[in-house]
Subunit: 417 residues, 2 copies
């Protein structure tokens, strides 16, 4: 259940419900209804009662903030038929949160310390509003902030363990674990064709536990192959997943090449980091159309300072010539991408250089059409290698596809070197 | 109301509800609840009944396709307590749709010609399933396909005119328009306090039309102040919004400073671009902890090549010293940020330089704690200005906050210069 008038007005999209649905499915919890409601006391109460009548529990996202619009606490208290009592310890933590930022807590923020009698809290670690676990007989209301990362963190730390405990008590526990193989450079139909035999074999198998395979498109971050195992114990489900991952990787490598770049949350840049560290090499990048996007992805990898030297965002042609030493002349060419890669090594003192130039659009540049991208790679004691790519989409998507495509080319070139 | 098990499992996000919410708000139709439900007859019936009990009408998206999962028609017939009758004219149109593509219609597709007695149809122009308008006394169920472009086209052609007719009969027609002021550098509670008098005045006012004020947190992109106007005509509602925007901006500037950086979808980088273009200045950036994030945001502004020269991602200290000319010594200091800003001007040939250094975490660097960030600004014929920031969150969030904070400092400094 999502709370916020902005959701009803379509000013923000409700991404929390889809995320929670995915997490609940993975945990073996059936989720049967989603609801969204505005910042209106009577309607929030009605929606909570509807949700509790239709299920065993409800997760409420939003309406825990400090403003007068934030009335989820009051609505839950009414549904629980319990008074709200201000918890001094929570208020003290909120006050110290403000103090650590040299700001003063307003009276409004103290409302975030209100807790319905009978509820327990899920401590905040990111912001100010704690979450709530509110039992009603054998049913339960979980309330968490609507900010996606606060919601997700509280779900994993506070809600999921409580749900698991309730399921165990009800004798409904099966361990369900998913593992995602992340791929780049193929199509959903090619994946499905390559894995059809595995899927048929799994359907036919009659095991103690079971594994299913599904495909998920995840936009610019490639296609995911999700393996979901179900068994009585965690050891059994992990053994199933290990065996299936091995089988799937073998089939994919044989039929489609080295398309798996990571597992679960491993990003493409982590794949790059892993190979660079294994080879003991440092990296520098020179970016034109991606404008710093590749560098900013690389520094998201913890410990990037061990292998990432830095980058030059050569948006203006003069920067390409003067800073990177790209020869005068056209700059949207394979040769320019190669020179940028070499320039990155020289200027930044890196072993490996990645250069990228191209046209994000909407207009042509140097007679080159939008979506055309050139990548250059300079590896130690090799001549620069260059590649031409044709990428779909508008300005923003061309740039995002260009960044991940270039990182994948780098990853594969390093693996082969 | 959205129908489809894939929504509950989080395999696809429900974008239709947000789109419909926006359209309904613009048409002056209050939308009070969203629901999603899986492909289950009893639950679809329950959800329809819940929706009708809570409102005057419901728009149902999805479940009108040709497969056995598509059971919205049957559920509506049950709620209407009316039989489904196959409409030969619809089946003939579906058959000719297939013929025109040299394909044969399957028996399943004929189900799309089933219409509950008492309902009228919204003709298909894009696919095969027609929409339905199903009156229940003074209430109504509209059913449309879940495919976003089919849904949108049918909403505009079939649902909106019917809704307008119903509102005119009930004397409830109004135009509703929202406008969002985007702010950075303050808290939700401070905004609420600053605008409390305006909000009270609006509540007390008894006008032909009306305006309401609401606050929306939008994560790292700051806080939004949403003005929603309602009046009989578009001209009247725009006049109301213009007057209220002026009043709100005056109050905010007086009490909290120049915190409004844009309107509606305008991003912080667009705010920066606007001031740079107005002053005829070019920009170069030197980034350490943000690792290219600031540059990549700047190039997202269409036409950035008119004012953006490029950047240096000086992640390694050696790059700061050698490429940007930062003096040897500590690099996580205000002085280093100032030197980076000057270096960006010199190396990239820019009028204005922005430098940023700091500690994203998780570990200290040079004895400086994570979340500490130094920003340097070099403006034409000024000594570099530097600022120290303390930012909350983990590694990724510190970096994101650092990027938008630095852009805001730049925007304000340019406005004052």
């Amino acid at each position: 259940m999502a709370v916020g008038t902005e959701l009803l007005l379509g000013q923000i999209a409700d991404t929390n419900s889809a995320w929670l649905g995915e997490q609940l499915a993975a945990a073996g919890v059936g989720s049967h209804f989603h609801q969204a409601v505005g910042d209106n006391h009577a309607r929030i109460v009605l929606t909570l009662r509807t949700a509790l009548a239709r299920g065993d529990g409800v997760i409420v996202c939003g309406g825990l903030g400090p403003t007068q619009d934030d009335i989820t606490r009051e609505a839950i208290a009414e549904v629980m038929n319990a008074p709200l009592v201000r918890d001094g310890a929570i208020v003290a933590r909120i006050a110290s949160f403000f103090e650590s930022r040299n700001r003063t807590m307003s009276e409004n923020n103290a409302r975030q310390g209100d807790v319905p009698v009978g509820a327990t809290i899920i401590e905040q670690t990111q912001g100010t509003a704690p979450g709530l676990i509110c039992p009603l007989g054998n049913k339960v209301i979980y309330a968490v902030p609507g900010v996606p990362y606060e919601m997700a963190e509280m779900f994993e730390r506070g809600i999921l363990p409580d749900l698991r405990r309730r399921m165990a008590e009800a004798g409904e526990e099966a361990i369900i674990v998913s593992r995602v193989l992340r791929t780049w450079g193929t199509s959903e139909s090619a994946l499905a064709e390559a894995l059809q035999e595995r899927i048929d074999a799994l359907d036919a198998a009659s095991l103690e536990g079971s594994v299913t395979i599904a495909f998920l498109a995840s936009g610019i971050e490639g296609l995911k192959v999700r393996l979901t195992g179900r068994a009585r114990t965690e050891a059994a489900v992990l053994a199933l997943l290990d065996a299936e991952e091995h089988a799937v990787r073998s089939v994919l490598t044989e039929k489609l090449g080295d398309i798996v770049f990571g597992v679960d949350d491993e990003s493409m840049e982590q794949g790059v980091a892993t190979v660079l560290l294994a080879r003991g090499l440092s990296l520098g990048v020179a970016e034109s159309l991606t404008g710093g996007l590749i560098a900013s992805r690389l520094v998201d990898v913890p410990g990037a300072s061990r292998w990432f030297r830095g980058g030059v965002v050569a948006y203006d042609s003069a920067v390409k010539h003067r800073v990177l030493g790209v020869p005068e002349g056209p700059v949207v060419t394979e040769a320019a991408a190669g020179a940028m890669a070499e320039g990155a090594c020289a200027v930044l003192g890196a072993d490996v250089g990645l250069g990228i130039t191209g046209v994000a659009g909407p207009d042509d540049q140097e007679g080159v059409t939008p979506g055309t991208v050139f990548v250059g790679l300079a590896l130690p004691s090799h001549q620069p290698v260059t590649r031409r790519l044709r990428l779909p989409g508008d300005r923003v998507r061309v740039r995002q596809y260009a960044a991940i495509s270039a990182l994948d080319l780098l990853r594969r070139a390093l693996l082969e070197s």
